[in-house]
Subunit: 148 residues, 3 copies
């Protein structure tokens, strides 16, 4: 790959991740499911509310259903920053993103709000000409909560 | 346009939007006016404090005067994230940006602070060799206020 | 430099700054030191807690030691946004970044938290084939504190 091809792949992966955020926060669950490879793996082990041993979800469709189940009724704002994307072959790449999420639950939930900060550690795969998220693992710098 | 030309246009539009934010927050109103095309349209319908039917401002100069009138005495912080920019021709483009704004009013204002989140939906035009914002519409995910 | 070469330099500088943030917030001090040129200059004059005339630190190693001394025990989250990077020669560049930092001190400190917003004004140099931060000056839009 020459410099322009690598840069184009980097930009395409940035826009893929932009759709990940926008579709989640606007509750466009079809659009959200489309960012994942069919055999994608999401690892949210250690996230609050995630029982031990249940933080790994396998398959793009299952991931989208899981995330929808977690946040569909929640007002969510997710931001990504400062990507470090490395194109490792014409069809594979890795990336680290700084992230921040601000959640507000409906009034009948025991939790009022959450405000968190951390990093996504991801891999990507180009499938049928389009980049998809192949794996995503979330680590945290800090998480704050407000309970009702 | 080849890949390098498209990527250059994407980067130029990112830097155009960066000047939009920096000039607004540092109150560089000449610099702020220069980010718009002469016939630009800003749509802030639905923003708090905007009367029904008065949220569409037409013309780059009028937009800059309007925004200055709204926030010149306000300590503002505006951040943009995760652009999805599509180059639709050598002189036209579209973009969606995630955004966050944090405003603090002077002590004699009835409102103390505002903290909002949403998306810009924009179009761009290359005029005399430079990309400008042609239209901008703001949608919101969440807005919080503190009154005095 | 052709368009692809300039864009590659811009992307490399973005990833350099991404390492600056990630290494500081994860306390990877060796990685943090490696983002600076040997003769780099950091100017944090005007930052709270910085005595007059003591805000300029010279030398990449000294900068890394200074920053470690300031924030190693502090839970820090630093985000960068909206870069305006200009490649001024094959080995030099300038950049402006919007920034936000959220700090939480250990329980025995008199200060509880700080939340700030501003801009980095930077220069970069390519040394032995790798971009490094050559100078960094921080200006502020707003800073909030909470004391214990």
């Amino acid at each position: 790959m020459d410099a322009a091809e690598r840069l184009l792949a980097v930009e395409e992966i940035k826009q893929l991740k932009a759709r990940y955020f926008r579709c989640m926060d606007t509750k466009d669950w079809d659009g959200y499911a489309a960012v994942y490879a069919a055999d994608a793996v999401l690892d949210v082990s250690g996230e609050s509310g995630v029982p031990d041993g249940e933080g790994v979800i396998r398959g793009g469709t299952a991931i989208a259903e899981y995330v929808k189940g977690q946040v569909d009724p929640v007002t969510t704002v997710h931001h990504g920053h400062m990507p470090e994307i490395e194109i490792t072959s014409p069809t594979t790449a890795t990336g680290i993103w700084s992230m921040e999420d601000m959640l507000r639950w409906p009034e009948d939930a025991p939790i009022d709000w959450m405000h968190g900060y951390g990093h996504y550690h991801e891999t990507y795969e180009k499938v049928d000409g389009e980049w998809r998220i192949k794996s995503c693992r979330l680590t945290r710098l800090r998480v704050d909560f407000g309970m009702r």
